[in-house]
């Protein structure tokens, strides 16, 4: 996977996984994506705060479930039972950590050209800029590329229960 990433860096194109939240198309680099699962009921972690409220079992590993909707300032999803769970690896303090988050649906993997990436217009975007890397167009539709570094960083908003 690492080499994969390297070649992407040099070839200036990358592969993206597109998923939807409230009808909007979002994307993350496919490089670190492990698997797509049917949603599972997460074990709630008491006093964990809204960003990483639960844990699931992904083939023997305990994986934190991230509430990406909360971070992007979206309303809570209708139901946990719909949609798909994306499991991917994210380095935290240099050690890869498996994470999962829920999307309404997972669409496809597309190839994109880094040079075609645009700034997300400040106006009209409801999501905090810090979590956005840019936007690309896929068949005329705007796809928001998430900045995984910040989007999945252990939160400052985690309630250090006190």
């Amino acid at each position: 996977m690492q080499t994969d990433d390297m070649t992407q860096e040099t070839s200036n194109t990358g592969m993206l996984l597109i998923f939807r939240l409230d009808g909007e198309a979002f994307a993350i680099s496919v490089t670190w994506v492990h698997e797509i699962l049917d949603p599972q009921r997460a074990t709630p972690v008491p006093n964990a705060g809204p960003f990483a409220p639960g844990l699931i079992n992904v083939r023997g590993a305990v994986v934190p479930v991230i509430d990406i909707r909360h971070r992007l300032g979206l309303a809570p999803g209708a139901s946990e039972d719909d949609g798909r769970m994306i499991v991917f690896e994210h380095p935290i303090e240099c050690t890869p950590q498996k994470l999962a988050f829920c999307a309404d649906s997972v669409e496809q993997v597309i190839e994109y050209d880094r040079s075609s990436m645009e700034q997300v217009p400040q106006l009209g975007a409801a999501w905090p800029q810090a979590y956005l890397r840019g936007a690309i167009r896929d068949n005329g539709e705007l796809v928001i590329l998430l900045e995984t570094e910040t989007t999945f960083a252990p939160a400052a908003d985690r309630s250090v229960a006190a």
Partner: protein, 688 residues
Amino acid sequence: MIEQATEAFVLEARELLAELEDSFLELEDDVTSARIDEIFRALHTVKGSGSMFGYTALSRFTHHFENAYDLVRDGALQVERDLIDLSLAARDLMVSFLDLGGDGPEAEALLVSPEVSAIVERLSNLTGTSEESIEAPGKVEADAGETAAPAPTGVQTFLIRFTPAQDALRNGMRPDLLMRELADLGKIQVSLDVSAVPRLTELDPTEAVLGWIVELETAEGREAVEDVFIFADDADLSITEMTPEISVEETLATEPPATDSAEPAVAQVPAAAAPAPSQAAAQPKPEPKAKLPTAAKSESIRVTSSRLDDMMDALGELVIAQARLEAVSEEISDPTLETVVEDVQRLVMGLRDATLSIRMLPIESVFGKFRRVVRDLSADLGKDIRLITEGGETEIDKNVIDRISEPLVHMIRNSVDHGLETAEDRQAQGKTPQGSLWLSACQEGGEILVSIEDNGKGLDAEAIRARAIERELIDPEAELSEQDLHHLIFEPGFSTAKVVSSVSGRGVGMDAVKTTIDALGGSIHVLSRAGQGTRITLRLPVTMAIIDGLRVRLGESVYVIPLSAVEECVEMDEAESKRDSGRSLLQIRDEMVPYLELDALFGQTAKPDAGRRVVVVRVDGMRAGLVVDDILGQSQTVIKGLSAYHKDIPGLGGATILGDGRVALIIDVATLIRWAETRRDQGPRKAA
């Protein structure tokens, strides 16, 4: 392959260096020839294999060191404190060389650094050798060796036939380095014996098929030549000295000439000597034999700890899978299946115990390092302190060992710095001038007790109280027992500024110690008498990978409470919880036990069903009840650490996977109760 062998060398060298440190410290107390031999062998091994595995700078430095111990071995040099100091310093430099990861500009730079030069000079002064002889390894050895071999004067010519064992290259042997070492000894002429080389199609490049025939002109003597090959002991090797007039061809055809007077046997065995090429190498001269690393000390193999971790992970998965199997079997309830499940369970438990036992290490491995800490520290502080260790053979999980070493160092520093007095102060109080520090370990059930005891001045309860009030850790009105006051030293923010010294006040106080011990699921107990000393006892779990856990239900969630903390389970007296007096005490027999309602602490909506249970746990010597909805049973629990997202949440010690595949959280009783206390204190403030 080479990397692997190098890795093995580094591993071995590190072990040897750790042992060396111990040996030097022991040597200080008790000089025995066995110990000196051991030191010499260790140095020799590092030197020898160092040059084979690309650590020649280390090897060259070690050479000086080895010379000194050669003299010690011969009784030409006395073991004195000076030598021990020097040895410890030199050993530390060897570690530095090892840390640099082999030869390179950095290692070269270190070799000529003032630090190293100073040590080398002191070593040379001891051995009375000049720089030149140091640059020529072997000579000093030959001179000082007890073999009574007449020191070879002048130049000798050796014929060396060297055929490595077939798998030698795979084991990391580097013939090129050996040849280079030979070249360092004198003038060499190398020819290759290619008779064993197969056809190209059959050639396995990882196999050693070449033979080397070397004619070496050297003034270093036979031993220096043998030393080059000391680690190639499975190779076919013959070293014969040639009288100048005999050419290579002739020597090969006839028996080796008898010029080495130390080994007349070679000469007297006609013909047989030549076809038995390992003759010379196998000459059981007492010295080289003693120098060879005793490979078969015990029947053990070297395994990197990461492999053990992998094995432990796999075992964890197996335990989880087995729990799942059990759950399924219960559902199906088929007698045949149940028998199989029982068998599997038994086997898994056996495997678990075996695996855990592999990971157990004697705690001596950390104790050893403290001898040095105490020695250096007491010297720095001008105190006379003796460290006495007991129960070093007590075995404890490697992970636990790795993590307690830091807190132990901290506590020892504290004892040496604050606890034990100077010789004058001690004498003024009628104590022995030498302070003592005991470090002991023993096993008690599923726990290991490690205690650090000093016969110093003890903790000053009143000073602690004053300080705790100053730091607003306790209410000025609070009435605390002496015991409670002593435990305040573990409060965050207690140890700072005023008592900071260069030794122990480095910003991390005893609270860091407590945090680590808590994280390990252990506890700390302090006992101190003013003027007499302090004993701090750590209770630690033997292992932390798999524990026995009690599964409890709280609403729809299942939690696991480590069984080691559980004392008993009782019914919840609901009349008690309906009380609104704010009191949360439970009468168990004739004792009042405070209790915590987990659902409230965990922010779950309380559904006070009848028949709730109380799990009574013991933390820091105190009993407390945890109210849960139900108790589900007891099971093996594989602890999985929490991620960065959750690891700071108080009261949670990890997660595990249940038989039905769900994730359950493991309760860390100690942090839970402490956190609950601070929460309560932040409410209506009242004295504890």
